[in-house]
Amino acid sequence: MQPPVLAPARAVLEATDLVKTYGAGDTAVRALDGVTAAFAPGEFTAIMGPSGSGKSTLLHCLAGLDTPASGSVRIGDTEISRLGDRALTMLRRHRVGFIFQSFNLLPALTAEQNIRLPLDLAGRKPDPGWWDTVITSLGLADRLRHLPSQLSGGQQQRVACARALITKPDVIFADEPTGNLDSRNGAEVLGFLRASVRELGQTVVMVTHDPVAASYAGRVLFLADGRVSGELRAPTPQSVLDYLKRNGE
């Protein structure tokens, strides 16, 4: 496997000197303490770190769900850290996809309606060719009319993947996407994410604490105490474990 090009000419997602604090005064906690990171187009990056290292906060700030105290986040040509609520909403709708650990789907909508939701909200129709590609590759064709409560956990996460992909976003953010799945279903979802990067040129940023999940990525960023503490290219489960052991975890 070829490592991705170093120092990409133009990163699709870039964070510079991000700081995020919770609380105030003596009890203030710096969840992010000057994080700088760049993500190249078509790259699958995993973010790892112990609990409280700030990895979820970083993901939320990168995705425009949360605003940093200082520093900047750029997606494509857009500086998002100073956007208002409406602009951020439009950015999430059109240029970002999400996969969460749980509660990914609206219980009142069928699988198909859930997948189309971001397009529906924008008043757009899906591109038929792209729709078929996504549905077929995720094997959801015979599940489209089902409600989330009638789907297994793995199927629900696959619906969430389809929903994230359908808008052809600049970046897909995944927050512990396999946290609630057994290993076989987890592998299936991760394999799909990797395939979307390799075959469709998608950019994916995933937070995980599982070395096996991280090994599906092309690069692992390690976070500790709100700072980037290291990076690993072309990881394997073993190399990730070794790194974690070396750094006292």
Binding site: L65, D66, T89, M90, F100, D120, L121
Partner: protein, 853 residues
């Protein structure tokens, strides 16, 4: 468990606030009704107590029963009785009290009327302690040419002391007096809101034409008891012809008879209070059901750590008890204000209700508190029972919501089938049963039964109706509306219960509007069809008549055509007493008065020939070609029945119609009751109106009205009634809105994570707010559809039954009013969704996502 219940109450105060509001509103309505009734009673009592102030003994005519103050045929106590009572040992002072007609004129020369009633006159008792009023300004009349007027009238008419005021005496003459004072009747409601003029006693007799006093009262010397004095007076010779009471009896007896009216009145309003409480009950039931559903995991956790079913049940009941007590207390406080407001409202609508201080009796507090608390606890019982069925294992399961099935239990299905069947049968029966009054009762009962069936079927009706309602807007308005429709469909039970309250309000309003509007249309139609006269000249209340010179002046005017006087008198006919006998000028028939003829023609009516209303035939044992014998002061008149007509229910036609010559010969009337006047052909409306006004100008007591005035007065009354009931039902509507706001708020809380997910996926704040607005809109439309549908159907059934029993009338569906109700209901539901929507939109995305429930 107590501690746990209270802790949970504190924790959820926001969620419980809304349901508490619903309870409080219902209790407030009940309290308000009771407070109003008690206050009105108290006002009556204090009013009559004012009349009985300082009175130790009172002598009134027997059978003084029901007559208007001042009516001429009321029995009286002669002045000689006053003289004799004044000389009874132990009497410090005695006074005769006189009440009679004394229409006061405004400066413009018109009779001052309060409602329809012209002013009355009272005399000035010699003993100031036995006067039922106090002097507000100036002084009491000191000579025969002076008068005092009640302060409200003086203020309304801008009278100044020292000016001349004019009064029409019983002979129809206008007499001028010097206004020297104004009086304050205080809490004395004996005269309602009438204009009251005080004369010296002799003047009062000559103005009112009363032959004696209405009441003679006596004040006791110190140390003489009321009972002793009353016994002495009763022992006087000839007193058995009068009723002799102590002052205390006088106050109580008269107040009691007056309070009877108050009671009927409060009973009617209490029905609305019960409706309000029923609506509140539905809201409470719904709230607790949602709370139990949302707390499923928490309750399961309690069961996991060892809480028994009984403990869970007890906790829920304790919660509802606390809510019931607190909300009822708040409702009682609010009800005090409402009672005051209702009194003002009714006074504003012209009902002559007495006003006075607001009275809160202990029984009111007890009834309101117990009802409110009991209703709350009862409403919480079913949800509390289902709370005990939460399995402990539910605490560990995933929090994915199971779709609620629209399937209904066999009980619900059975209730729906049985009630629909019974409702339709009873209604149909009521519609067939056209003879009696019970038809309406049956239709009303059938309506209630069908309503229960609709409530039971609610969860089944909701999903398809919402799908139907949401189809077109969903196509047009896009994702937010489609999401709203999906959300409204997902809890059919909840939505059905939330809208039930609004449905009740709208159903009642629609039924009511259809009935009232049809009644108005029917009488309009009857007026137009049967009485196409241009003007009616009417005499005032209290036995005044249209004098013959006015009738001849009208007949002489070239601008006027047919002029037909109507004479009317109660008399014994064929042995049947109190039969309505009358005569109408011949020129009226065919031109202005065209009653439906059953047999013969009115042209036959002439000397020796009468016509009879068909409804009187059985009572008088006669028929076409038969005879009627009318007892008149001039002797018995024997007449042949030459025609039979059907006057209808809004008729001016008497029971027995004589020719005018026969009538005047027999009864010798001083004038006509009414005169019907038509324009001369070719005369303009202003010219004919001026001619009529000129003819009556010398008699300020006469009023002139046109058919348009008639209809306007009628529709004015109808609109007042509608507004009044609208205001009453509005409260039920208000409670229903608490219900919708409540359901939406709880749904918003329940869907916090869902909303956050949608916001993460690109739903703007505005879209989120619009989505909830649309959801409220769907609920409102559902209620409008059901309420207006049911209301129109049963309103129509009632009117139809009425038309069959009355033998005529029209059904009028007032689309504009119903549309207005629908719009108000919808707008109000949207309003109810504003706060929950804002709340949902305010939640930041990340914190809601992190809040793993």
């Amino acid at each position: 468990m107590m501690r746990s219940a209270l802790a949970s109450l504190r924790y959820r105060k926001a969620r419980l606030a809304a349901s508490s509001l619903a309870v409080a509103a219902g209790v407030a309505f009940v309290t308000g009704t009771l407070v109003m009734g008690a206050s009105m009673n108290a006002a009556y009592f204090s009013g009559f107590a004012a009349g009985a102030k300082n009175v130790a003994a009172a002598v009134t005519p027997r059978s003084s029963g029901n007559y208007r103050p001042g009516s001429e045929d009321a029995p009286w106590v002669p002045a000689s009785v006053l003289t004799r009572i004044g000389s009874v040992p132990g009497v410090t002072a005695a006074a005769g009290r006189l009440v009679g007609q004394a229409p006061l004129l405004s400066d413009s020369g018109k009779v001052i009327r309060n409602g329809e009633v012209p002013g009355i006159g009272i005399n000035l008792a010699a003993d100031p302690a036995l006067r039922g009023f106090t002097v507000a300004s100036g002084h009491v009349p000191a000579s025969a040419g002076q008068v005092a007027v009640d302060m409200a009238t003086a203020a309304d008419e801008h009278f100044r002391l020292g000016q001349r005021v004019r009064v029409v005496d019983h002979g129809g003459r206008v007499r001028a007096f010097l206004l020297v004072g104004t009086i304050d009747l205080g809490a004395n409601h004996e005269f309602g809101n009438s204009t009251v003029t005080v004369f010296q006693t002799a003047t009062a007799f000559s103005v009112t034409g009363r032959p004696g006093y209405d009441q003679v009262v006596a004040r006791a010397a110190p140390g003489v008891s009321q009972a002793a004095l009353t016994a002495r007076i009763r022992a006087l010779p000839g007193m058995s012809a009068y009723q002799v009471q102590t002052g205390a009896q006088l106050a109580t007896a008269e107040a009691d008879s007056a309070a009877h009216f108050t009671q009927q009145f409060t009973t009617a309003i209490l029905i609305f209070a019960v409706i309000a409480l029923a609506v509140a009950c539905i809201v409470i039931y719904n709230t607790f059901t949602i709370l139990v559903t949302q707390r499923g995991r928490e309750l399961a956790l309690q069961r996991c750590v060892g809480a028994t079913r009984r403990q869970v049940f007890g906790e829920m009941l304790l919660e509802s008890l606390a809510v019931g007590v607190i909300a009822s207390a708040a409702g009682v406080v609010a009800g005090l204000g409402l009672g005051w407001g209702l009194q003002r409202l009714f006074a504003g609508f012209g009902a002559s209700v007495p006003s006075g201080p607001v009275v809160l009796s202990p029984s009111t507090v007890v009834i309101a508190m117990v009802t409110g608390t009991l209703v709350t606890v009862m409403a919480a019982l079913p949800p509390a029972r289902s709370a005990t069925r939460v399995a402990p294992v539910a605490a560990l399961g995933s929090q994915h919501e199971q779709p609620e099935s629209a399937r209904i239990g066999w009980l619900r299905a059975a209730v729906a089938v049985v009630f629909t069947g019974a409702g339709v049968l009873v209604t149909d029966n009521g519609m067939q049963n056209v003879g009696g009054r019970s038809g309406f009762v049956e239709i009303a009962a059938g309506g209630c039964l069908c309503f229960v069936a609709v409530l039971a079927l609610g969860p089944v009706i909701v999903p398809p109706v919402i799908t139907f309602l949401g189809w077109l807007p969903g196509k047009l308005a896009g994702a937010t509306v489609r999401l709203a429709a999906a959300n409204a469909r997902r809890n059919p039970h909840r939505v059905a219960a939330a809208t039930a309250a609004l449905t009740i309000g709208l159903t009642l309003m629609t039924v009511f509007t259809v009935v009232i509007s049809s009644a108005q249309a029917s009488s309009d139609q009857q007026i137009t069809e049967h009485y196409p006269f241009d003007y009616i000249v009417q005499a005032g209340h209290g036995g005044q008549l249209v004098p013959p010179r006015v009738i001849s002046a009208l007949a002489a005017s070239p601008a006027l055509g047919a002029v037909a006087p109507l004479y009317d008198q109660q008399a014994t006919v064929n042995g049947a007493g109190r039969t309505d006998v009358g005569a109408i000028g011949r020129r009226a028939f065919g031109m202005s008065i065209q009653p439906a003829m059953v047999a013969g023609s009115l042209a036959a009516v002439g000397p020796g020939v009468a016509a009879v209303d068909s409804s009187q035939l059985t009572r008088l044992h006669t028929g076409l070609g038969g005879t009627v014998v009318v007892s008149t002061p001039g002797g018995a008149e024997r007449l042949r029945v030459g025609a039979v007509y059907d006057g209808g229910s809004h008729s001016v036609m008497p029971g027995v119609l004589l020719s005018v010559p026969d009538f005047t010969r027999g009864f010798r009337p001083a004038g006509a009751q009414e005169v019907f006047v038509n324009r001369a052909p070719g005369a303009s409306t202003p010219a004919s109106r001026a001619a009529v006004d000129a003819a009556v100008a010398s008699d300020p007591l006469l009023t002139v009205s046109t058919v348009a005035d008639y209809k306007a007065a009628l529709s004015n009354t109808v609109n007042r009634v509608l507004a009044l009931f609208g205001a009453l039902l509005g409260l039920a509507l208000l409670i229903a809105l608490f219900g919708i706001a409540n359901t939406l708020t709880l749904s918003v809380i329940e869907r916090t994570r869902e909303s956050a997910l949608m916001r993460a996926l690109g739903l703007t704040r505005g879209q989120l707010r619009r989505m909830l607005l649309a959801e409220a809109l769907f609920m409102a439309l559902l209620a409008v559809l059901l309420g207006v549908g049911l209301g129109a159907a049963f309103g129509w059934a009632m009117v139809d039954a009425f038309i069959k029993s009355a033998g005529g009338g029209v059904i009028s569906i007032p689309f504009a009013e119903i549309g207005l109700f629908a719009a108000i209901g919808t707008a109000a539901a949207l309003l109810a969704s504003v706060l929950p929507a804002r709340r949902a939109a305010r939640v930041p995305v990340v914190s809601a996502m992190a809040d793993v429930g």
